[in-house]
């Protein structure tokens, strides 16, 4: 009898279209969000996780946006990684839980990602502790 590990299983997905033009769509949306920020100060977010990006798409997007000057890691019941892309004002934010599973992944447009700002309630608690 064949043992389980002898059955060849190939889970690699091949033949997917290299790029589904999603990258261009994202870049286009970023441009619009930057315009909005510059004209009205309104910040914007793109939810990357809920987009049907292929692995190739994802890598290509990451490459096209590049790395900027700032990067930060926040310990918030699991790490949240934040870095500024080569485009100033465009931030790549990855939220993970304590199992290191990605909870959310976003591109944020604005001066600084909201998650980095301290909340008044927390500041109040801090004041009390002093």
């Amino acid at each position: 009898m064949t043992r389980l590990q002898d059955i060849p299983v190939n889970t690699e997905i091949t033949g997917l279209d290299a790029e589904c033009n999603m990258v261009d769509a994202v870049l286009h949306e970023l441009k619009q969000l930057l315009d909005a920020y510059l004209s009205s100060g309104e910040t914007g977010v793109i939810d990357i996780k809920s987009m049907p990006l292929s692995a190739t798409d994802y890598d290509s997007l990451k490459q096209r946006l590049g790395n900027g000057e700032i990067s930060a890691t926040a310990s918030l019941a699991g790490d949240t990684e934040i870095y500024e892309t080569a485009l100033s004002g465009v931030w790549w934010v990855v939220h993970r839980n304590i199992d290191d599973r990605v909870l959310a992944e976003q591109l944020e447009v604005g001066r600084i990602p909201a998650i980095l700002c301290a909340h008044d309630d927390d500041i109040r608690v801090a004041r009390e502790r002093l």
């Binding site: 690699e12 279209d17 589904c20 914007g44 939220h95 959310a104 976003q106 909340h119």
Partner: protein
């Protein structure tokens, strides 16, 4: 925990920063397909949410829905929601049993009359006055009607509660029906699936706590946020479908290459759920990713929608037999009608008006 305590205070007591909560809300919004711009407001609102009394009734069910909800072995941030709600009665999970359990239910119903959230899993048998399923001598039917009266809203968890599910599949001997079939005077949210995705149940509860109202529903009572798109449309194998690349069997080259499972009976095109994006077991995978087609478990009547391995476009009944019968019957009928035609043609021939020089002459003289 005090009755009027809110979630924000609970967080503070647990030493969870508002940043962390914001992160949780971001994840929640992402899974609910809410606009990311709504997150800060959502976090503020949710932090102010009051403790919610919940009564959970289980009828004709398999406990899969509860399993799905509690499957998480690691405490996650979602569990906060469950820490925060007051699960006053849950037949399967509660420590109490017998009359004490039923007392707890009645007490919660009386105390929070008009304010508690009623969660139901399992279908309700109505044949023979509902005797097919009773709890503590009370039929499911009675229990639901009682509990529904004082509920603020009802959440039907799982396909059985939402649409009747497996018990309702033909020929449905117990006369199983869904909650919606019985209750029409309360807002009802259906969270179908066999079982539903845990995160979806959490998400809906979070939404309820955040906004104090039920989310936007589709025509069959499902939150659009989670059931707004078909598995097919969000499927990573969709591109193979579009390219016409299909697995023909479960062990062929196509299956190995991860091609579309449409021909193997995948019900992705007719199934609305978020498995393809939310996935299962801490986002490990979902059926299609494991090489098996979607069986369409979150759809009404899914057991009657054709075999699990029959493609969506396949007819649900035999057509060949009727086709042969139709052709034979058609031929017989054709012969009969042809005989009638022949007869009327013959009688027309018999009545034939002979055109002759005399008739022409007569006509011309007129």
């Amino acid at each position: 925990m005090a009755e009027n305590d809110n979630l924000g205070n609970l967080l503070a007591r647990r030493g969870i920063s508002r940043r962390t909560f914001l992160k949780f809300c971001t994840a929640l919004a992402s899974s609910m397909a809410l606009s990311p711009s709504m997150v800060p407001a959502m976090a503020e609102s949710l932090a102010k949410a009051k403790r919610q009394s919940v009564i959970w009734l289980s009828f004709q069910e398999c406990t899969g829905c509860t399993e799905s909800l509690t499957r998480s072995s690691q405490p996650s941030i979602e569990s906060l929601i469950f820490d925060f709600i007051s699960l006053d009665y849950h037949h399967t999970l509660q420590a109490a049993s017998g009359f004490q359990a039923e007392e707890a239910r009645e007490q919660a119903m009386a105390e929070h009359k008009g304010k508690y959230l009623l969660i139901v899993d399992g279908s309700i048998p109505v044949a023979e006055n509902g005797v097919y399923s009773t709890i503590a001598g009370m039929t499911n039917l009675q229990m639901l009607e009682d509990a529904a009266k004082g509920a603020m809203a009802i959440v039907a968890v799982g396909t059985c509660a939402a649409y009747g599910g497996l018990p309702k599949a033909r020929p449905n001997p117990t006369g199983a029906v869904s909650v919606t079939d019985l209750i029409d005077d309360k807002p009802i949210i259906n969270i179908p699936g066999c079982p539903p995705i845990g995160e979806v149940i959490t998400g809906v509860l979070a939404h309820f706590l955040t906004f104090g109202a039920i989310p936007e529903l589709d025509t069959v009572g499902r939150p659009k946020a989670f059931y707004g798109e078909t598995i097919h449309d969000r499927c990573y194998r969709r591109t193979f479908y579009d390219q016409g690349l299909f697995a023909e069997t479960f062990d062929d080259e196509g299956a190995r290459k991860g091609w579309c499972l449409y021909k193997l009976g995948c019900k992705g095109p007719v199934t609305y759920n978020s498995c393809a994006t939310t996935k299962w077991n801490q986002e490990t995978s979902f059926p299609i990713e494991s090489g098996h087609g979607c069986i369409g478990c979150s759809q009404p009547d899914f057991w009657d929608m054709g075999g699990i391995y029959e493609a969506v476009s396949e007819p649900l009944t035999d057509l060949r037999g009727p086709a042969v019968t139709a052709v034979v019957a058609g031929a017989a009928a054709g012969v009969a009608v042809a005989a009638m035609n022949k007869q009327s043609k013959q009688s027309a021939k018999d009545r034939h008006f002979k055109v002759s020089s005399e008739t022409l002459d007569e006509e011309l003289k007129k």
